[in-house]
């Protein structure tokens, strides 16, 4: 195996890495924000709204990301939504992730005993303050482990975007293998890069878990 190959394709691979990280970060932020709103509405919204949102969540959780991306990327233009591959990737990852985050936050809200709301209400604490000072701090601790897992899943799923020709890491490396006819080494190196990234996220997640859960320790 010729190591100069990696030197020659180095800049291209770095561009890919940048795309992977940027799409993952922005897509995840989008997924967390939308997922929080969805989880909140599923927990406290009226019944018809909850039913509608349940349909949204079940669709995105019950179908493959690839099918969703194809629908948006190839089906979008025929209903007047024409987006470039990277935007579809970002949006698709965000919508997909939001359905899973919605479930995480819904479970978080469900874990708060109802009596807490009643107690807060009887103390005359406004709804918003109650959310900010009573509910969210408790939920925050609970949602960190599943959220870390989901962020890792989303990081790995950015590789799927290569199929839509988003110029991310897997796409760049696939391009490199096609040009050079060297397959195994680049893909193994690619796997090592993803492995490092996901282990890093898992490590940070565990650190954060310990950090915010400190008050629970006796």
């Amino acid at each position: 195996m010729d190591m100069s190959l990696f030197v020659r394709y180095g800049p291209q691979i770095l561009v890919g890495l940048k795309y992977t990280v940027v799409i993952w970060v922005i897509g995840s932020i989008f997924a967390i924000l939308l997922g929080f709103l969805l989880g909140f509405a599923l927990s406290f919204g009226n019944r018809s709204m909850a039913l509608l949102l349940r349909g949204y969540v079940e669709f995105f959780r019950g179908t493959p990301l690839l099918a969703q991306l194809f629908l948006l990327y190839y089906g979008g233009p025929s209903v007047g939504i024409t987006l470039d591959a990277s935007t579809v990737g970002l949006l698709g990852l965000g919508l997909y992730g939001s359905a899973y985050f919605a479930e995480i936050f819904r479970a978080g809200f469900a874990s708060i005993p109802r009596s807490q709301f009643e107690a807060a209400a009887s103390f005359g604490i406004p709804k918003l303050a109650q959310l900010r000072y009573v509910t969210l701090p408790q939920i925050f601790v609970l949602v960190i482990p599943p959220s870390t897992n989901l962020l890792i899943v989303l990081l790995k799923d950015t590789a799927v975007l290569s199929i839509l020709t988003v110029p991310e890491l897997t796409f760049q490396v696939t391009g490199m293998t096609i040009e050079t006819f060297v397959f195994i080494e680049p893909f193994v190196a690619l796997a090592a890069v993803y492995w490092t990234l996901t282990e890093l996220v898992a490590f940070l997640g565990r650190r954060l878990e310990v950090r915010v859960g400190r008050y629970l320790q006796p």
């Binding site: 079940e58 099918a67 969703q68 194809f70 089906g75 397959f183 993803y194 492995w195 996901t198």
Partner: protein, 219 residues
């Protein structure tokens, strides 16, 4: 036969392929996963280290990249296999890592005393595993294992990339000819959805079945 009904038929055949690849991959994953899990729980440090590395690697790398490696690696070592088989192997070794962890969770809730009691009663370690530990671990892990099948069905959409004519790939082919992406991709998504709903129902039935003769709230 009209073009549309022909396409619909092709789509259904693709769905059959998806089911077949997923179930075979899942079964392979259960076999490898059980071995990995037993290695993870064994006394031998070396076996444990291998199991930990296996789980960490296959859960930490995108399935697409794993499939690409399997797809190119097998021919390079002289194993020329049809993409269909390579896809099953790829799904199997990946899902094994997840299933090993589910099973480990199942084993961990069995009280230590049971293995000791079995030893005291003269069970060999193999018998202890076969008759006492594995059945209970399977029961405890059943919900997670069924969930894993659903995840594999969705993940199997990636085998279209290595040339398997699964649901995703045939819907792409149909769209290439028919030029109505929304209809066919939505149909494909719907079929995935239906498969998953049915699997979830079967999962509930299996869970219920496994709980027969078993007091709720105990192991």
């Amino acid at each position: 036969m009209s073009q549309v009904s022909q396409s619909a038929l092709i789509l259904l055949i693709g769905a059959g392929t998806t089911l077949l690849v997923s179930l075979a991959g899942n079964a392979l994953g259960l076999v490898i996963g059980t071995s990995i899990c037993l290695m993870r729980l064994s006394q031998a440090r070396f076996a444990r280290a291998i199991a930990i590395a296996y789980v960490s690697f296959f859960r930490g790398v995108p399935l697409l990249v794993q499939l690409l490696i399997v797809f190119y690696f097998l021919p390079a070592v002289g194993l020329d296999m049809p993409p269909f088989v390579a896809a099953i192997i790829g799904l199997g070794i990946c899902s094994a890592a997840y299933q090993a962890e589910h099973l480990r969770g199942g084993f961990l809730i069995i009280p230590r005393g049971q293995a000791e009691a079995a030893h005291a009663l003269g069970y060999t370690p193999t018998q202890t595993r076969r008759y006492i530990l594995i059945p209970q671990a399977m029961r405890a892990a059943a919900p997670a294992l069924v969930n894993e099948i659903i995840l594999i069905v969705k993940a199997s959409s990636l085998v279209s990339v290595v040339g398997v004519a699964d649901l995703m790939r045939v819907s792409q082919n149909i769209v290439a000819r028919d030029l109505r992406p929304i209809i066919w991709y939505a149909a494909a998504a719907l079929i995935y959805f239906i498969i998953n709903v049915v699997l979830a129902r079967i999962g509930q039935a299996v869970e219920w079945r496994l709980n027969v003769g078993h007091v709720k709230g105990t192991l």
